[in-house]
């Protein structure tokens, strides 16, 4: 089969279209003919060597996969050939540890991240993934678009529903609102009945953010403190919850935007920089930082249900063929993608 392989980390040229052996199913594997694979900044970080932990080269990139089952291993009972499926961000978990048993499987110590560890990734015609890490795609949903259901949407559902317990009527700030997670965060927070504030330094994105569910869009200059604007639209109270897709570069304005008893959901971190802060700044206002980590299979199934109900929808931009993978990364790194770009091996 054809696949994009990274043998040595580096620039765009580190990705090469190669012909590699087709995957064959081990006992618990489901072999998927890839319909689409989302392109995440994570892929860029693996390719250029920024991310080293959990990476084993050579590797095939890509952890946001949807496709059709073409073969199953001897111990697979939940899936059959011809079924449409979407993946979580892993291809192996042990299934038995306390994390796997306690709806925390992204923390399984045996986990193998799809697209990071060896020749198992979504930038390929086929990929073999253990059945624990798959969900059936309900009829009627566009298969390519739901490739991003776990990473770009499920992570936000995890944040909003399970970690942050957002309630109808609360106010939410989404940092990095224009990004792949941000646009879905606007939608999901809106679906929960919250008042949603988007934050962006790109004024041209404001209209789309409103269409995605933002009640207010705070537009500011790059590097500028936007907290005053957030306080202005919250009667000085600040927000009940921040869905933070940015981290360090906006740490102080984000902190100052958070209200008393606010929950600060840590999802994204765009740089390797550290940040100084005084813990008292949080505890004197009874604020909490909460970690959001990846997506469980159950959360993926719930996202697919919400998409089917029409509550939320995946935002995808251009599709690229495998041969255009370098171009896809170029566009993603340049921030010229709205939502997610897709790799479509069938193109």
């Amino acid at each position: 089969m054809k696949a994009i392989v990274v043998r040595q980390t580096g620039g765009l040229e580190a990705m090469n279209l190669e012909t590699v052996p087709d995957p064959t199913p081990a006992d618990r594997d489901v072999v998927i003919q890839v319909e689409a694979c989302g392109v995440c900044m994570h892929d860029v970080a693996v390719r250029n060597g920024t991310l080293k932990r959990g990476v084993e080269l050579p590797c095939i990139l890509g952890h946001e996969v949807s496709g059709t089952v073409v073969a199953v291993g001897s111990k697979v009972s939940r899936f059959r050939v011809g079924q449409r499926v979407a993946t979580v961000q892993r291809y192996h978990i042990c299934g038995a540890c306390r994390f796997c048993r306690g709806s925390r499987e992204p923390l399984c110590e045996e986990r193998k991240f799809l697209g990071d560890w060896g020749m198992v990734g979504g930038y390929a015609e086929y990929v073999a993934i253990e059945d624990d890490n798959l969900a059936e795609v309900p009829d009627g949903l566009p298969l390519a678009e739901v490739s991003i259901a776990a990473c770009a949407m499920g992570t936000i559902l995890n944040a909003v529903r399970d970690v942050g317990r957002l309630q109808v009527g609360e106010t939410v700030l989404v940092t990095g609102s224009g990004g792949g997670l941000g646009l879905h965060a606007l939608q999901i927070a809106n679906a929960f009945g919250a008042r949603v504030i988007a934050q962006t330094s790109s004024p041209d994105k404001a209209a789309f953010m409103k269409a995605m569910g933002a009640h207010e869009v705070v537009v500011h200059g790059r590097g500028e403190d936007f907290s005053k604007q957030v306080l202005d639209v919250t009667q000085g109270r600040g927000v009940d919850m921040v869905i933070d897709n940015v981290g360090t570069p906006q740490f102080q304005p984000t902190r100052k935007s958070l209200g008393v008893m606010g929950r600060w959901l840590m999802i994204g971190q765009l740089t390797g920089e550290f940040v100084p802060f005084n813990p008292a700044q949080l505890f004197l206002r009874a604020q909490s930082m909460l970690a959001v980590n990846s997506t469980t299979r159950a959360q993926l199934e719930d996202v697919l249900k919400l998409v089917q109900m029409g509550k939320i929808r995946p935002v995808v931009d251009r599709s690229f063929s495998l041969a255009e993978a370098r171009e896809a990364h170029l566009q993603v790194e340049a921030g010229r993608v709205r939502g997610r770009a897709l790799i479509r091996p069938g193109l």
């Binding site: 529903r161 309630q167 109808v168 009527g169 609360e170 509550k311």
Partner: protein
């Protein structure tokens, strides 16, 4: 000032009377009552079975909206001219209900709101949502907050299925709040006309319980065989069916007793499917304020039934007793009609 008195535990005894105008003490607000709204509970109080210690004559009714006319010393929460709504359970500000709060309810044992002027502690009223008329705001303290609390205790979230019963206050507010929270709502009712209204308010499915007496099966069918994640049980006596209609691990908020106070309960129906069954008595002030915030954001307006003149309060109670109403019955205490 003018008041409405019940001189006996019977709605026939309800009649206009007069009483001295109250004075706000330290921490109190004096409210010029604009509109009041009835609940089924008001009938129950007058039946004599609900609260043993009601002393006669008695000012009935629990829910009111009005304007602050004066404040006692040390009041910072409100100022004269503010539009406020009373809290039904006086003193329950936040957190868990305590025994000492339980008997501090307006409209029995504490005096009710059918009076021109009313004094309550400033801490036991909330600001009226700006988008609501006095009539609309007057419907919130019991019915709306009960529905809100049931849904919050049930942990409502997008994609959930919520079952509401009927077209009374709690059922309609439950429908509206569940929709705002992204849930799918199944409603029970008894006529095509009411069904059409429920559909207009956003019910995904409406089941006519007269035509389909075994509505539990119909609810399961209308929810992909799963059952409802949350049931707001307002009838009470239908608990057995609600247990049949609720999903595994689901929640039943027991809020009403329209069908009587005792019901058969098959524990197996509750234990096996891991059902949470919780009594819900209205809610705290913190819940009230969170609810109002959501109502403003989602521009939710209560469904109003008919408005009765202050002097016709008895007729309002009769309408409630006849169960002829859809939505909330309003009493025009200040005589200004529908206008603010």
């Amino acid at each position: 000032m003018n008041v409405i008195h019940a001189t006996a535990l019977a709605i026939e005894s309800i009649a206009p009377a007069s009483a001295p105008k109250p004075e706000p003490q330290r921490g109190d607000i004096l409210i010029r009552v604009g509109k009041a709204s009835l609940n089924y509970r008001d009938l129950a109080v007058l039946s004599g079975t609900h609260i043993a210690a009601a002393t006669l004559p008695f000012v009935p009714c629990s829910d009111a909206c009005g304007v602050v006319e004066a404040v006692g010393t040390d009041v910072t929460r409100f100022k004269p001219g503010d539009r406020v709504v009373t809290c039904y359970i006086q003193g329950w500000r936040d957190g868990r209900l305590k025994k000492e709060h339980r008997m501090r309810t307006l409209g029995g044992p504490l005096p009710g709101v059918l009076q021109e002027y009313l004094v309550v502690p400033a801490e036991d009223a909330v600001a009226a949502p700006a988008h609501l008329s006095d009539s609309e705001a007057a419907t919130l303290p019991i019915a709306a907050l009960t529905a809100w609390t049931a849904l919050q205790e049930g942990g409502v979230r997008p994609g959930d299925t919520v079952l509401v019963q009927g077209t009374g206050g709690v059922g309609l507010f439950g429908l509206q709040f569940a929709r705002a929270a992204g849930a799918r709502v199944i409603a029970l009712t008894s006529s095509a006309e009411k069904a059409a209204m429920l559909a207009r308010l956003g019910a995904a499915e409406v089941i006519d319980y007269r035509r389909i007496p075994d509505w539990a099966a119909a609810v399961r069918e209308a929810s992909g065989g799963q059952g409802a994640d949350i049931v707001i049980e307002t009838v009470g006596s239908t608990l057995e069916q609600s247990l049949g209609a609720v999903a595994f691990g689901g929640f039943i908020g027991m809020v009403g007793f329209l069908g009587g106070l005792t019901v058969p309960l098959n524990l197996r129906q509750m234990i096996g499917p891991n059902i949470r069954l919780q009594g819900v008595v209205v809610g705290s002030r913190a819940g009230f304020e969170a609810m109002n915030r959501a109502m403003v954001l989602h521009a939710i307006h209560p469904v109003l039934d008919r408005t009765f003149a202050f002097a016709d309060a008895q007729a309002a109670f009769a309408r409630m007793k006849a169960a002829a109403h859809v939505g909330k019955i309003v009493i025009d205490v200040d005589g200004t009609g529908e206008a603010r």
